[in-house]
């Protein structure tokens, strides 16, 4: 009797969505900016990407082996963490520092807290912040080979010094910075892909970038400068790919908007009044920690629920 009918509770069909398919979509969405970064900063970018992705996947596999847990690298989330971390580093970062960053992201931030879905903060962003405060190499941005590194300042530094770079250059990514953060155009292509595939919604990126724009405009009084400010630094990659991490951001539209506005405000404050020129990573990390509270604030009202 091998033809016994199977019995289980409903539902008996599934949408077919899976964690690995979602992560695969994120990897695909990051391809344009990876390619752009490689064109802009040269082949060393690819080396950084390869080292980070391979390190993250191997580290998670090793952790699972040693702790005798089910193997989880098939869900591709470790690969996403590796790629995101690489894209947030300058192309000239020393390789050993990449590996240290990956250990921090995968082992400390992700695995020790229970693996996928259990981390309190985004692994890639936390590792980036850790590296930023630990290694001086990160503060020195890489510059495109063919660009005369205008007084070797990143666009954010230039704006602070009073020169607004060409908006077109900023949009295309012809400026200094981390591998994957410079080309707003490539990041937008990835954003549209994620929206079409319904992997993320517009709420966090739009409220995040929008609030930075409005606050900058209010302070600077110039739309051009405000546009230059949102196109500079890690805002696009942060708002589209890091702040939208499911695990560390709220699930409902209202929660997402609160999260995005908070991250935007913090980014603006750090950029203009803080010691660091860039504040996106710190802002997202801070909002990650607040997420459980924003989640409660933004929860749906239960239909027909009794009034409390």
């Amino acid at each position: 009797m091998d033809n016994l009918l199977s019995l289980s509770a409903s539902p008996h069909i599934h949408s077919g969505r899976s964690t690995s398919a979602i992560m695969r979509d994120v990897l695909i969405a990051l391809l344009p900016t990876t390619v752009a970064g490689t064109i802009i900063f040269g082949l060393r970018s690819l080396l950084v990407v390869a080292v980070c992705v391979i390190s993250c996947v191997l580290l998670e596999a090793l952790y699972n082996l040693i702790t005798k847990k089910d193997q989880t690298i098939g869900d591709l989330s470790a690969a996403v963490t590796g790629l995101l971390l690489a894209l947030n580093l300058p192309a000239n970062v020393p390789i050993w520092q990449c590996v240290v960053g990956c250990v921090f992201a995968i082992i400390l931030v992700k695995c020790l807290f229970g693996g996928i879905g259990r981390n309190l903060v985004n692994p890639a962003i936390t590792a980036r912040v850790f590296m930023l405060v630990s290694f001086s190499s990160l503060a020195k941005a890489a510059f495109p080979a063919n660009v005369d590194a205008v007084s070797s300042a990143t666009p954010l530094m230039q704006i602070e010094q009073g020169t607004v770079p060409s908006l077109l250059d900023l949009f295309l990514g012809k400026n200094g910075g981390a591998i994957g953060e410079v080309s707003a155009a490539a990041l937008l292509v990835g954003f549209i892909y994620l929206l079409c595939r319904r992997v993320i919604t517009w709420h966090i990126p739009v409220s995040f970038i929008g609030s930075v724009f409005l606050l900058s405009f209010a302070l600077e009084g110039s739309a051009t400068t405000a546009l230059a400010l949102i196109l500079s630094g890690g805002l696009f990659i942060g708002a589209i790919f890091m702040a939208t991490d499911y695990v560390t951001s709220p699930p409902t539209p209202l929660g997402k908007i609160v999260f995005g506005l908070g991250a935007g405000l913090l980014t603006f404050l750090i950029r203009h009044f803080g010691a660091y020129p860039e504040g996106v990573s710190f802002a997202i990390l801070f909002m990650n920690i607040l997420t459980p509270y924003i989640e409660k604030l933004g929860a749906f009202k239960v239909f027909g629920g009794r009034k409390a």
Binding site: N3, L5, S6, L7, S8, A9, S10, P11, H12, I13, H14, S15, G16, R17, S18, T19, A21, I22, T72, D75, S77, G115, I116, G117, R118, Y246, V247, P250, P251, T252, A299, F300, K301, V302, F303, G304, G305, R306
Partner: protein, 437 residues
Amino acid sequence: MAFLHGVHTPHRKNTADKGAEPITGIKSVILPMQMHIGAPAVPAVKVGDLVKVGTLIAEAANGLSSPIYSSVSGKVTKISDILTSSGSTCPAVIIESDGEMTPDENITVPTVTSRQELIEAIKKSGIVGLGGAGFPTYAKWNVDPERIEELVINGAECEPYITSDSYTMTDRADDMEYALLALKEHFGLKRIIIGIESNKKKAIESMKAMSQKIEGCEVKVLPQVYPQGGEKVLVYHTTKKVIETGKLPIDVGCIVCNCTTIAAIGSYLKTGMPLVEKCVTVDGGAVAEPKNVIVPIGAPLSDLFDFCGGFKAEPKKILYGGPMMGVAVPSADVPVLKSTNAVIALTAKEAKLPKTTACIRCGACTNACPFGLYPAEILLAYKKKDAEALKRLSVDTCMLCGCCSFICPANRPLVQTNSLSKQLLREEKAKEATKNG
């Protein structure tokens, strides 16, 4: 107007607009005494009795219950316990057919001159909620007519595969009209709203034509979102009224009836033949020729599959009802019940569900839930058996539609845990009641 959330399930309405064929060659029927919500019916026949189509074989028990009539002509061969799909046992009357399908000559058209007579007639007809719930219909109508503001007719049919309600709306509009006119006359119905999902063009056309003949009757075309046919969802989308948790549609002035239930009432009022047959959608990847089949209640599912060309692939799962909320049955020998609107046979490939993995807190479950619940959080609270947290998360509001489990990329047992959580809260409540009582 805001619409409640839900999911986009595949349609797979392979049998749409194909009409329905009456089945032939039924050798015997199994009539369980429990085909409705309430007390089981009480057998009124003995082994060896001769019965005809429409002969009473079981009387309604006291309280909420419903009578049962023979669906074939022949001889009662056995009265014994059978295993139901819920795993419990239930007495059943088994009748061997003589193949003649002779109607009972004592059947007469009911005389209905008052509201009470109409309610009595509906009770006597053996009609229960035919959309799947099986709630005795007369009990729904046994209310002060002053309270009824709208009759909402459920023609949403949002589950994949099923088209038997569409068949009712396209081919049995006459029966529906007859019932609605009688209900309107005796209950003074002011407003009748028929809710239909927008993909059922022919049903919408047919119902619009019918509604023109009944004053105060309108068709509301609804977007195709599962679970459009959920009672509270349908009432909200047709009337904008919110039914609070623990309340019934009548508490907001609504009576909700499935369209096939309405047609059954019309057919009984016209002919006096009680509920003995059902239109059932037979479909699923394992079925050779999916069809809508008109079958005597009690016919074994295996006869329905045989009538549809048998299996083209080995079935791995057989369902009463659709794949979202349907019940898996242990074998094809179980009978068609009063409330059965579809039987689906899935192949091993179709029945295979993805592996459960870790929650990634994507929020898909809460964004899909029509009622805004957060199933991932409910699951965590249930694991801790935290009744207080479960109450706070309003799990008692859950209608078990299954959107959360369907959409979950980690395929976590969300709606299943909601069901267990509701059970846990009921037990807690009972414990408290005994403590205080």
